[in-house]
């Protein structure tokens, strides 16, 4: 069974707009990661946020984590057509099983030129 659930399932925006996608999970975590997957390709790691962090930035990406609500959000600012992909959150449930990342079903983002 999947730990994380992304919302929305699909998102379509215009180039230059911001894209926000959310992830909810069920159990306590050690860290949460976001990955991108272009069609027909493997997953690429974007950013990791630890359970004691609340916000993290990387370029045009901003990730927040609210452990009280068991949720995270990924914001992509000033989106580009090249950002079109599926985005997955993955959680590591506890430190003894670190590396056993459990993925959600993803948000499919389409950025129209």
């Amino acid at each position: 069974s999947q730990q994380g659930e992304e919302d929305p399932q699909a998102l379509s925006i215009q180039e230059g707009e911001n894209a926000t996608m959310n992830c909810s999970y069920k159990t306590s975590i050690n860290n949460l990661q976001w990955y991108r997957q272009n069609s027909g390709r493997g997953l690429v790691h974007l950013i990791l946020i630890r359970s004691n962090e609340r916000e993290k930035h990387s370029g045009r990406l901003r990730v927040t984590l609210d452990t009280s609500k068991k949720s995270s959000s990924l914001l992509i600012t000033a989106s580009r057509a090249a950002d079109t992909a599926s985005y997955f959150c993955a959680t590591d449930s506890d430190d003894t099983n670190a590396g056993k990342s459990t993925f959600g079903d993803g948000t499919t983002l389409t950025v129209k030129p």
Binding site: Q2, N31, G99
Partner: protein, 115 residues
């Protein structure tokens, strides 16, 4: 630096036939994972290796699936016999330090179609 290499990229077989997938992780990564990804879904862990030891194979359907990582480097995932429902993408990933950095490096995947 070379990434995670998987082969074949595509495989079409008839049901009841065997199939094998190969993965070569990033050099120095002692943790290797096999994931299954169905269309429109996220990856699901099949098996995780720490060096040559399978430390988590609870999700591997052992009646038809097997995996090995004999020398703690490259790995092979086998299905015998394949069923229609096995059509999916099989992803290999690797990480350094038992995954404690959290970052997994994925290969491009092997897409299996069972007819």
């Amino acid at each position: 630096e070379a990434g995670v290499v998987q082969s074949p990229r595509y495989k079409i077989i008839e049901k009841k036939q065997p199939v094998a997938f190969w993965c070569n992780p990033i050099s120095g990564h002692n943790t290797l994972y096999w994931y299954l990804q169905n269309l429109g879904q996220g990856p699901e862990l099949l098996i995780r290796y720490e060096n040559e030891e399978a430390v988590d194979d609870s999700q591997l359907p052992k009646d038809r699936f097997s995996a090995e990582r004999l020398k703690g480097v490259d790995s092979t995932l086998k299905i015998q016999p394949a069923e229609l429902g096995d059509s999916a993408v099989y992803l290999c990933a690797s990480s350094f330090g038992q995954g404690r950095t959290g970052e997994l490096f994925f290969g491009e995947g092997s897409r299996l179609t069972v007819l």
